[in-house]
Amino acid sequence: MTAPTTSTKTGDAWGYALTTLSAVMILGALYLAFMYAAEASNLGTQVERYAQRIMYFHVGVAWIGFFAFFVTFVAGVMYLIKRTFFWDNLGHSSVEIGLTFMTMVLITGSIWARPTWNTWWTWSPRLTISAVGWLMYIGYLMLRGAIDNPARRARFAAVYGMVAFLSVPINFLAIRWWRDIHPTVIGSTSSEASGGFDMSSDMRTTLLFSIAAFTVFYATLLYHRMRLGKTAHEVETLKQQVLYN
């Protein structure tokens, strides 16, 4: 019987480094968002201008919400080729984190929409696609939960993760044609999109830093979640070895 490889000291060091780095970067993003970035002067009320600052987190979180989906897609492709636990673990971990972020997107979006659009929820394309994406993540986890055979679970999850991700662009296009009131923040001069504003360079810096901070945060969570998944897998393997030998 071969002893499963236990996590090494180096692994822990990576974990500490990533955790510290993301803490520092998230704090930095907070500082930039509230202290550094200028007010969006074209917005009418004080509340609206204040609520606008949630955008720095909202966009960062939304980016991760969809990026996590992409990671799951890649993990799905790789799993079907390589058939190793690593890729299944990656896809699964990424969905769990993505779901958390997508939930945050919907919540921060609602908080911002309330003063800006005078409603918690509208069926704007970005909101709708986020909600649809959220439902796909839920579907992915429910699918996993409903299959006992680990190999089959990994295979089906890979297939569903791929189909779901590939449906996102065409979904977005369809929903966008359906109707649109969401502000296209970057590079848009359309004034029809209510709540839009021009980005000054300090705002852009803040936004980009915030996106970077959330990306590091995502990597950190992914690292820890995958270690957890690997440990669970090792425990399961040991259990099987004890039971069947």
């Binding site: 649809v132 699918l143 409903a146 089906f156 929903i175 359906w178």
Partner: protein
């Protein structure tokens, strides 16, 4: 290894003439087998008519329930009609898709299909074509009733038939793939709509818009992009499902 192979050759060849038919083993063999699967499903369905009658009654019920729930009147009926039609089609189609692989699972006949000397994609296409035929047939039968209930013009039926078929292809394309997946899960009947609906949102959106365009008598140019989107979705997701199907059915 070599000598053994040579020893085996004669024995295999003895049996070969009976098992091989060169005429059928051409490229047509593939389509021949796809059609065999389709006609097998049609024969089985015609014997019981269970699935199609269930889908038919269910779509009618959806239309009735909408009527009660929204108190449809002449002035708002035509604005809600496309939505009602497509909710009816989507839910009834879900029933059909759910059954599609369950009948293969009951007696292990899916394994029987997998044992046959044909590429796995033939099984996908066979089941897919069967699903489209069953669902589209039921919905086309529903259309005249839909026209009557919503007081619409009869001349729009041909165009509606076209949209119904394109929409059905769209969700049966992915639906057939997911249907083959959920038979291996617990709670299989519940899971299929949860997996399928988020993915087929574009199909529903474009089908509803096209149906509305037909009812309002808009020129094709006004809804052209929806038509393109629907056809693109059909083709893209049929291709994806075709590629991934093999990974779903392997043991």
């Amino acid at each position: 290894m070599k000598p053994e192979t040579q020893n085996l050759k004669p024995e295999t060849q003895n049996l070969k003439p009976e098992t091989r038919n060169p005429k059928l083993e051409t490229r047509f063999g593939y389509f021949y087998k796809v059609l065999a699967i389709v006609s097998k499903d049609i024969t089985a369905e015609l014997r019981t008519k269970e699935m199609m009658s269930a889908m038919f009654v269910f779509s009618l019920l959806v239309i009735f329930i909408f009527n009660f729930a929204f108190d449809l009147r002449a002035e708002n009926a035509s604005t809600l009609a496309p939505g009602v039609l497509w909710v009816a089609i989507a839910f009834a189609g879900m029933l059909g898709l759910g059954r599609s692989f369950i009948i293969e699972r009951d007696r292990g006949s899916l394994e029987g299909l997998l044992l046959a000397p044909v590429d796995r994609s033939a099984i996908y296409f066979g089941k897919f074509i069967g699903n489209v035929l069953f669902i589209a047939t039921v919905e086309i039968v529903i259309l005249p009733l839909f026209i009557v209930f919503f007081n619409l013009s009869i001349v729009i039926i041909p165009a509606l038939v076209g949209v119904v078929i394109l929409g059905t292809i769209g969700f049966a394309g992915v639906g057939t793939l997911f249907s083959a997946m959920v038979i291996h899960t617990r709670a299989r009947d519940v899971l299929l709509p949860i997996l399928l609906f988020p993915v087929i949102v574009p199909v529903l959106l474009s089908a509803v818009r096209l149906t509305a365009g037909i009812i309002d008598g808009l020129p094709l140019a006004d809804v052209q992009n929806w038509l393109t989107l629907l056809i693109a979705f059909d083709l893209i997701f049929m291709a994806i499902a075709f590629i991934l199907f093999e990974h779903v059915v392997e043991e």
